[in-house]
């Protein structure tokens, strides 16, 4: 079972690199959606016997992260009429290298952390750290609002992965609350992206600096 968990997390880590290396927005969104589905399935594999609540949470996560949120983002993308990140602050190859270095560092750091024995042999912690790091790289290095939303969602995936360490003690209500927040957040950002596009004639978040005091 640990093998299949590690396989899924490894897939997620690979998708991180894919999101970093891609210039087209649809492929970033796709990478994020597939990652959401892969991580959503994890709780089912990790619990020793079938539990209804865990299954419900997993199904909800897969539906929302894999289908609802990507759908909302694609719609916002079409409304704003862009499908490509044109001039990132840091190029694709450097961000890819940065992501790879972050992944290696995450694995290295994990060896120094005082983990419980049952978590020590999974990729949960390094995968989570690498995914969080990837999310940050996307947030910092990309300028279009939609790529930043993707970065934010990948960051959230990393946090979710870390939360799986506590799967037995996190109440179902909290899980579903987080999911609801995410959906509403992306929904709102979709609307805001549309507004930004209309006001600034671009989705470049650097132009938002004129809004500061």
């Amino acid at each position: 079972m640990i093998g299949s968990v590690n396989l899924l997390i490894g897939l997620a880590m690979g998708l991180n690199l894919m999101a970093l290396g891609s210039s087209r927005l649809p492929s970033v969104i796709r990478a994020m959606a597939v990652q959401g589905v892969a991580l959503g399935l994890l709780p089912l594999l990790m619990s020793e016997h079938f539990e209804l609540l865990v299954a419900l949470a997993a199904v909800g996560t897969v539906i929302i992260k894999g289908f609802v949120i990507p759908h909302l983002l694609r719609r916002a993308m079409r409304a704003a009429n862009i499908d490509r990140e044109v001039e990132p602050l840091v190029g694709y190859v450097p961000s890819l290298l940065l992501g790879a270095a972050g992944t290696i560092a995450a694995v290295a750091v994990t060896y120094r952390l005082p983990l419980l024995p049952e978590h020590a042999h999974t990729l949960l912690v390094p995968g989570s750290l690498a995914t969080i790091f990837t999310g940050f790289i996307l947030l910092i290095c990309r300028v279009k609002a939609i790529s930043q939303v993707c970065g934010y969602l990948i960051l959230e995936n990393g946090i979710y992965l870390f939360g799986l360490l506590l799967i037995r003690s996190t109440p179902f209500l909290v899980e579903s609350g987080i999911l609801l927040d995410l959906t509403v957040g992306v929904f709102v950002i979709g609307i805001i992206a549309d507004r930004i596009q209309r006001a600034f004639d671009s989705l470049d978040t650097r132009k938002l600096t004129v809004l500061r005091e």
């Binding site: 602050l89 750091v109 120094r112 940050f136 947030l139 910092i140 930043q148 650097r206 938002l208 500061r212």
Partner: protein
Amino acid sequence: MSAGIMLAGAAGALALSAVAGLFLPRLWLGATVAGLAAAFWAGAAVLAGGAPWEWRGGFQVGGFAPHLQLDGLGALFLVLLAVVGACGAVYSRGYWPDQAHPRSARVGRVWWSVHVMSLGMVLLSANGLLFLVAWELFAVSGYFLVTLERQRAQARAAGWLYLAVSHVSALCLFAFFGILAARTGSWELGPMRDQPGLAPLFWLALFAFGIKAGVFPLHIWLPSAHSSAPSHVSAIMSGVSIKIGVYGILRFGGWLAVPDSAGWIVAVLGVVSAVLGVAFALGQHDLKRLLAYHSVENIGIILVGVGFAMIAAGQGDAPWGRLALAGALLHVWNHGLFKSLLFLGAGSVLHATGEREMSRLGGLWRLMPWTASLFALGAVAISGLPPLNGFVSEWLVYIGLFDASVARGAAAFASVSAIVLLALTGAMALACFTKACGVSFLGSPRSESAARAHESGPLMLGPMLALGCLCAAIGLAPVLFWPAIDRAACAWNPAWVAMGAPASLAAIGASNIALALACLAAAALLWRRVTRVGMRRAVTWDCGYAAPTARMQYTAGSFAGIITEWFAWIMDPQVQRDCPDEPFPSHASYEEHTPEVVLERVVEPAGALTMRLYAAARQLQHGRLQAYLFYIVIGLAALAAIAVMGGGR
């Protein structure tokens, strides 16, 4: 009548006066003087041997029960406050009348009442929160008094500096009382010498109260505030307000356990303030600024006494410490009296001529004989000359130091050097007041306004005369005032019991009386000869020069030039000269200016550097979301690094 009833009456009368000040100037004056008379009575009753007064409110105000107390130490300062407050109030009616200052006179009366009341409150508080409230009120009312003449940019700048520095002091006091309350578990104040863990707090108190007292490197607010305020305000600020700083140092140096080095530091600060205060005073050309620097000097003398008393307390209550403390406490009174007298005198000169620049005064002795005589009396007193009060208190400090110097140990070496430096201070103070009196009052007028001066009215001369009489009384009969000083000293250190006046004090009193009588006799003899033989007035011999002018007299700068040169290393006088060079020079000029060294060379550059650092830090806030996120990552990485490094523990 008990002290409590008198204090309640005083509070009521002062509250009434604060309201009456707006509309009814006469009622304001009556209520202020009556309230301060009641406060004087209460303080005098405690000093004359009555039991210390204490009052605890049975109710809560804002979460704490008010607790007031008046012991010998507080009473000593309360009596001084009452005298100077009343004299200043009477003086202000002549000096700052409604006709000349329609708006600020009203405001000034109200703030005067508030200032006096808050000063009294500080002296009575035995609760940390109450103390802080009173302290803040005292600082803020002082600000409004300093800026009464706010149409002058100089007064506004001085007020701003005063407010800023006062709040540095208040902030330290907040920390001091806060930590004290956290350690003891209550805001109540009182003797707690049995807790040696509280000793380091003394440094905080010394810094905060040292700012208020105007101790040398912390005095930056003092010269400009004292010289820009109206003269009656300068009188109470210099006479009483800065003494509250001394009160704080004494009060908390007595109630709390103090570090071993506390006495040494206080004594060193005292010596530095005394010598550099008088040196800077010599470099001033503005009469009120000169007096302000003398406040720094006299605070220094007081702190020398306090410091040696603390050293003695650390060495098993050596008896010389008690004499030094008594000298310091008496000097608190004396400086309050003669410095108020001098500031009121300077105010009369300013009122009559509109000039504070000494180089534009001169010859006032003939036009304002009363002001000149009373100013001269104050000058003799502040220079520490017999037969006046300054001599008595400095004498007590000196005999304390002399006794310390014959004892063994480090205190002996310290006291010898302190004696030498105090003697230097005294000599320079005499030189400085010779300059101030000579340049302002003697010679012939240097400007039109000085030539048209007029004597002040009775409302202004009366308070000066009263203060002058008190100076003379303490000088001529010091033994009468000893029990009060002794009671205050015993309140400072409960281990001491009352003792009679030292024998030398009675001898000083007798010799002062003899000296005064001899001076009077000599004056009478001279007067008789002058009236019998008659006087012939002539021009001063001018070496045959054909066209002498009043501007050829000694100026304030030229008189003090030699001594200020000794201190050029710290005073850094700015001189601009245009020397005459040809046989028939067409023009020449000479200009000298003494900067505020600590303010302009240390505090202002430090402030500018801080502002530059903050301006540089503002670059971080540019509105770029990506960079903000980058800050977060850096912060998280740093936290993770700390956690991983310390993860082994």
